[in-house]
């Protein structure tokens, strides 16, 4: 059984899941609402893992702050969802979200303008993470900051954002963030229909992102990135502007992460500054490491398997999860340096 077959099979199973959700609850093939929404969430995680793998697995940029790009994308869509609540909020204010009324805002802050439009919010879900990656990446790569120093900077970036978003006067709902969303694109969110649409949107984005990343990885750019990962100064010596190449992949990766976050938030129904927590970003890197970095498929596999394990373990023994995660990382590093995906190629040879 080749890897391609397994992937195609998995994709097929995912594609029919929302349909099986419509079967009567007593049917053997019925898929529960819970399974649909949790799988939809994992798909967005898989997109985040792809984004991380493109930057880390190919260009060697180990970002420990990719959760920030994901969360910013989520906040952008969250702002749109908040604007759509309108008079259905507790205070019934036609333009101001509840938390703003509560905090005594008289009018919408300027940076909230435009978020009543879905295309604008979607654009911002890509543009804001992309721009942040451009600025942080430019400063870091131009100064030739690599390796662990870059990881620390990205970690500091997401931590700083977390602290900032916790503040009420930032205008993003403080530690409560955004929730109580009602609708998106005319669909009432808490319906099987909306769940299916968001699930399929995530699945389509995953497939598109996968092919996009594969296209980059298989182009000469992908080989330049691998060369940068292994011997950066030699690439420079060959006449390549390493900063440009790294910026390209870092920004692309951030945009993908932002889009993943934009699909995550309407599915889980809440976004708050806790999502910026450095632990989240590290966990996402572990998905990639477990699946096998520099393979793209491995990143997707890792995101699904680690999260499935997490869901199961946090139900049966919640206290054990962090130990299991740490242990998993150590075990994979020691025994499966090429990740789960390495098992496939081992079986082949």
């Amino acid at each position: 059984m080749t890897l391609r077959f397994v992937l195609l099979g998995a994709l097929l199973v995912l594609a029919v899941m929302p349909a099986l959700n419509r079967l009567p609850a007593d049917s053997a093939l019925h898929v529960s609402d819970f399974l649909i929404s949790i799988t939809g969430k994992w798909i967005t995680y898989a997109i985040l893992a792809l984004a991380i793998d493109l930057a880390w697995g190919y260009a060697g940029i180990l970002s420990l702050g990719h959760g920030a790009f994901f969360t910013l994308g989520g906040y952008a869509i969250g702002m749109h969802l908040m604007r759509l609540i309108g008079t259905r909020g507790v205070y019934g204010h036609p333009t101001l979200p509840d938390f703003m009324v509560f905090l005594g805002y008289k009018e919408l802050p300027w940076y909230w303008l435009g978020f009543d439009s879905f295309p604008y919010a979607l654009f911002m879900a890509m543009a804001v993470p992309g721009l942040l990656a451009l600025v942080v990446g430019y400063l870091a790569f131009r100064s030739r900051i690599t390796g662990v120093y870059l990881s620390i900077i990205t970690q500091a970036m997401t931590y700083a954002l977390m602290l900032a978003f916790f503040r009420n006067d930032m205008g993003f709902g403080g530690n409560n963030g955004f929730t109580d969303f009602k609708e998106l694109l005319g669909m009432s969110l808490n319906t099987a229909n909306a769940r299916a649409v968001l699930f399929y949107a995530s699945l389509v984005l995953l497939v598109v992102a996968f092919f996009l990343c594969t296209r980059v990885a298989q182009s000469k750019l992908g080989r330049v990135l691998v060369a940068i990962r292994d011997a950066e100064s030699r690439v420079r010596f060959l006449g390549y502007d390493v900063t440009q190449h790294k910026l390209f992949v870092f920004v692309l990766s951030a945009v993908l992460a932002g889009l993943a976050g934009a699909l995550y938030v309407p599915q889980v129904g809440i976004i708050n500054p806790g999502e910026f927590s450095p632990g989240n970003s590290i966990e996402a890197v572990i998905w990639v490491a477990v699946g096998g970095r520099g393979t793209l498929v491995g990143a997707v596999l890792g995101a699904f398997s680690v999260n499935a394990l997490k869901t199961w373990l946090t139900t049966v023994a919640p206290d054990l999860w962090l130990f299991a995660l740490g242990g998993l990382f150590v075990a994979v590093t020691l025994f499966l340096p090429r990740g789960l995906i390495g098992l496939f190629s081992k079986a082949k040879s």
């Binding site: 000469k220 691998v226 060369a227 060959l238």
Partner: protein, 249 residues
């Protein structure tokens, strides 16, 4: 045979380099003709590496003239000199181990270097022929799709020379190419350097005399930063000053 005739590719005249009062190069003059293969030998500390550094712009001479065609190399930086067509192979080969021989050469090929250009890059027949030509030239044709990481020490040196050839240098500087090589690899390398000279000039720094003999080229002997003797290998080996430096005290 003797320097100074015609239009040398590389022209060093009265070059001195002083580090804290120590004369690494002392009034050194050297001419390399188009297509010439030249071996530079000399004991440790003779100034061989300093001479390479001066040519590639890494070290500035205290006095003297260094010219590549009409370009004054003492006023140019390393990248500009490299782009003028002077390629330098360092002692320690560095390449991209995760990429194949073919891919390593492809990255070295002259082509637009930006990320978008690389993303759109399509390997044309012309580029493929050029890469295959260089692979044949350095004797790695059969290893095209092997990762550089699995090559032997000698093959890595040849790949590195191949990567330099991809950039069409007019002058190739090769620093101790056969250090650590087996006898067979050394022989192969000598044949390789003889083969690639002609289309471009090649300057080889080495202290393995058997290897230099195999090159069959004109030899320059450096000692204490200055030229001690120049001519065929038999000529310099019978030169009493060379014998004294190498054997006696």
């Amino acid at each position: 045979m003797s320097g100074g005739s015609g239009n040398p590719v590389l022209y060093l005249d009265g070059v001195s380099v002083v580090f804290d009062g120590f004369k690494a190069l002392n009034n050194l003059s050297l001419f390399v003709e188009p297509g010439e293969l030249r071996a530079i030998i000399g004991p440790n500390g003779a100034g061989k590496t300093t001479m390479m550094d001066v040519i590639t712009g890494k070290t500035r001479p205290t006095e003297g003239t260094v010219r590549f065609h009409q370009h004054d190399l003492t006023k140019l930086d390393e990248a500009t000199i490299a782009n003028l067509g002077i390629g330098r192979k360092f002692q320690k080969p560095t390449m991209f181990d995760a990429l194949t021989v073919f891919e390593n050469l492809e990255l070295a090929l002259k082509a637009p270097r930006g990320p978008f250009a690389c993303l759109r890059w399509i390997l044309t027949g012309e580029a493929r022929r050029k890469i295959e030509g260089v692979m044949e030239e350095v004797g790695l044709g059969a290893r095209a799709h092997d990762r550089a990481g699995v090559l032997s020490h000698g093959q890595r040196q040849w790949l590195e020379i191949g990567m330099l050839l991809m950039q069409d240098p007019e002058l190739l500087l090769v620093d101790e190419p056969v250090a650590g090589m087996t006898d067979q690899e050394t022989e192969h390398t000598a044949a390789l350097l003889v083969r690639i000279a002609g289309a471009r000039s090649v300057v080889v720094v080495e202290h393995d005399l058997e290897f230099v003999r195999a090159l069959g080229s004109k030899v320059t002997v450096l000692c204490e930063g200055t030229m001690l003797s120049e001519g065929s290998i038999d000529h310099v080996q019978s030169d009493p000053r060379v014998i004294e430096v190498y054997l006696g005290r």
